[in-house]
């Protein structure tokens, strides 16, 4: 193993343990009965918070790599994304079991009729699909579709943040900060998105021109 790979390997182990800390603290507080008057709500909120935070950190990797030029950052992205899913799974499990008491009728009404729960559920399904297809084998099997599928992570991020915004009564500060971070991260991508859009447009107009259906750019500027 090269030194660089060795460092990444150690780094991944450290990151694994670091991301586990909020879950261990949660478990500790639950066992010690330190979750306050409404422990189920505390479990829900804390697991949900960490899912959104880790998802935003995952989304920050690629802009960070571009800004700093440190390519090795990408090697940590999958683990961060999987941890975002892990906390979402914890959040969803607490909701199904401890909060709703596995009352499927109530749960289905929630998912179908309460928009913030609908969005949270969709975000969870997206993260589930991404987690399942996160292995090297799946990457190989899905080929170019893999990239297209994993772009849905942006939708999961957006839905997760709106899920939070919509459940708040009056204090929009925390979900507001998450939304601001999400928008900033999206703006970083706007440049490459614009380029892709321009590329697609150029391809499209080129085709049209070849078919004699559209004026060329030089004709337009006359």
């Amino acid at each position: 193993m090269s030194t660089a790979n060795k460092n990444i390997f150690i780094g991944k182990q450290l990151l694994f343990l670091l991301c586990l800390v909020p879950a261990l603290l949660l478990l500790w507080d639950a066992v010690q009965q330190q979750l306050g008057a409404n422990p189920v709500e505390a479990l829900l909120h804390r697991s949900g918070d960490w899912s959104i935070r880790l998802l935003l950190i995952t989304l920050a990797i690629s802009p960070l790599r571009k800004l700093t030029g440190r390519g090795w950052l990408l090697r940590y992205r999958r683990m961060l994304g999987l941890y975002a899913f892990f906390y979402a799974l914890l959040h969803f499990t607490v909701y199904l079991w401890l909060d709703r008491g596995l009352s499927w009728r109530e749960i289905s009404v929630d998912i179908l009729e309460r928009p913030y729960i609908t969005l949270g559920f969709v975000a969870f399904l997206i993260l589930l699909a991404l987690a399942v297809t996160s292995t090297r084998g799946m990457m190989r099997r899905l080929g170019k579709h893999w990239t297209a599928l994993h772009r849905w992570v942006y939708a999961a991020g957006l839905f997760g943040v709106i899920h939070f915004l919509w459940l708040v009564k009056a204090d929009y500060r925390e979900p507001g900060v998450y939304m601001a971070i999400f928008i900033i991260l999206m703006l970083f991508r706007a440049e490459s998105f614009k380029k892709r859009l321009q590329g697609a447009f150029a391809l499209y107009s080129g085709k049209m021109q070849r078919m004699g259906l559209a004026p060329s750019r030089s004709q337009l500027s006359e």
């Binding site: 306050g36 008057a37 709500e41 009056a170 204090d171």
Partner: protein
């Protein structure tokens, strides 16, 4: 709860169950007892047990006592929606610690013959302070059972002789950003305002509360004076009241003004009318632990026998 009352014993001599329990707790924990004796007065500290605040003098047991386990002092005093002192549930217990509740006067005006002011200490001495153990149901679908101390709101209102034009009563919380730090920020339209229809205000279940667990109210619970309307969602029970006004028209109220489709003026507890974002059919009883599950919410929070007649013929879905 069965309280045997032999004739010849004045009700003031009877110790209420919670005061009794509390004394036992007090004696059991010598350290607490010592701290309580060493620090009398109104100083408030975060504590698991009562015993640090001033006891209510001449506390009467009263007859309104729900047959349910009273919620721990710890939960009642650390899980509070008191936006004036911050947004988190545990924030008010910390940020309201230094809040001064003396001097404190309540101004009464509007459609009445005798407008005027009344001091909190007069309220405490003039009105018989009675313990009332009520269910408390928050619009956020959690609940607790609270041993309030207080007196019927109607007894106070009568003294100001409301006129025939007085159809509603409006309440206002103190507005002083220096003392209530979160009022420096937007969030709610300060001061917090709540209102009742006259018949709701005069109902014997409606009280002005001055205490909790036999002692004066902890700051985070709305000291020194708050409203308690047990058949309505908690946000109607306005805290730290400085003003009461009689009016002819339905007054604007804080949460109703902020989100009229979510928080009605009446806000009667009703398991059949959901909040637009969540169900009101069940609620979580505070302090029950992780595996406790939820309980079914009852119409008018279990006070239907006493208050349903106030709303006879009214469409409760429309007037939620």
């Amino acid at each position: 709860m069965l309280i045997r009352r032999a004739s010849g014993i004045r009700s003031s001599e009877i110790t209420s169950q919670s005061v009794y329990n509390q004394r036992r707790e007090f004696l059991k924990s010598g350290i607490y007892a010592f701290a309580g004796l060493a620090m009398p007065g109104l100083a408030l500290a975060l504590t698991d047990k009562p015993g640090k605040l001033k006891p209510i003098a001449n506390l009467h047991p009263g007859k309104y006592r729900v047959d349910a386990e009273v919620t721990d002092y710890k939960w009642i005093t650390t899980y509070n929606n008191f936006t004036e002192f911050g947004h988190g549930k545990s924030t008010p217990a910390k940020t309201a610690r230094k809040f001064k509740t003396r001097p404190w006067t309540v101004k009464v005006d509007g459609e009445c013959e005798n407008p005027g002011k009344i001091d909190i200490d007069d309220l405490l001495s003039v009105f018989t302070q009675e313990e009332r153990i009520y269910r408390f149901r928050c619009v956020e679908a959690w609940s607790m059972v609270v041993p309030w101390v207080g007196f019927p709101l109607g007894d106070l209102l009568k003294r100001f002789k409301p006129t025939s034009k007085a159809k509603y009563v409006l309440f206002e919380t103190l507005h002083d950003p220096k003392r209530m730090p979160n009022q420096r920020y937007p969030g709610l339209d300060w001061p917090y305002r709540e209102g009742l229809r006259m018949d709701e205000a005069m109902h014997p279940l409606t009280i002005l509360s001055t205490g909790l667990y036999g002692e004066v109210l902890p700051n985070q619970n709305g000291a020194p004076l708050r409203l308690v309307v047990p058949w309505k969602y908690g946000f109607k029970s306005i805290k730290s009241i400085v003003k009461i006004s009689f009016s002819e028209k339905q007054p604007p109220t804080t949460w109703n003004g902020k989100a009229p489709d979510e928080y009605g003026f009446f806000a009667n507890v009703n398991p059949k009318v959901d909040h637009p974002r969540w169900s009101q059919a069940k609620h979580r009883v505070l302090g029950g632990g992780i595996f406790s599950g939820r309980e079914k919410t009852r119409m008018f929070n279990g006070y239907a026998d006493e208050v349903a007649s106030l709303y006879r013929g009214m469409n409760l879905k429309k007037n939620f």
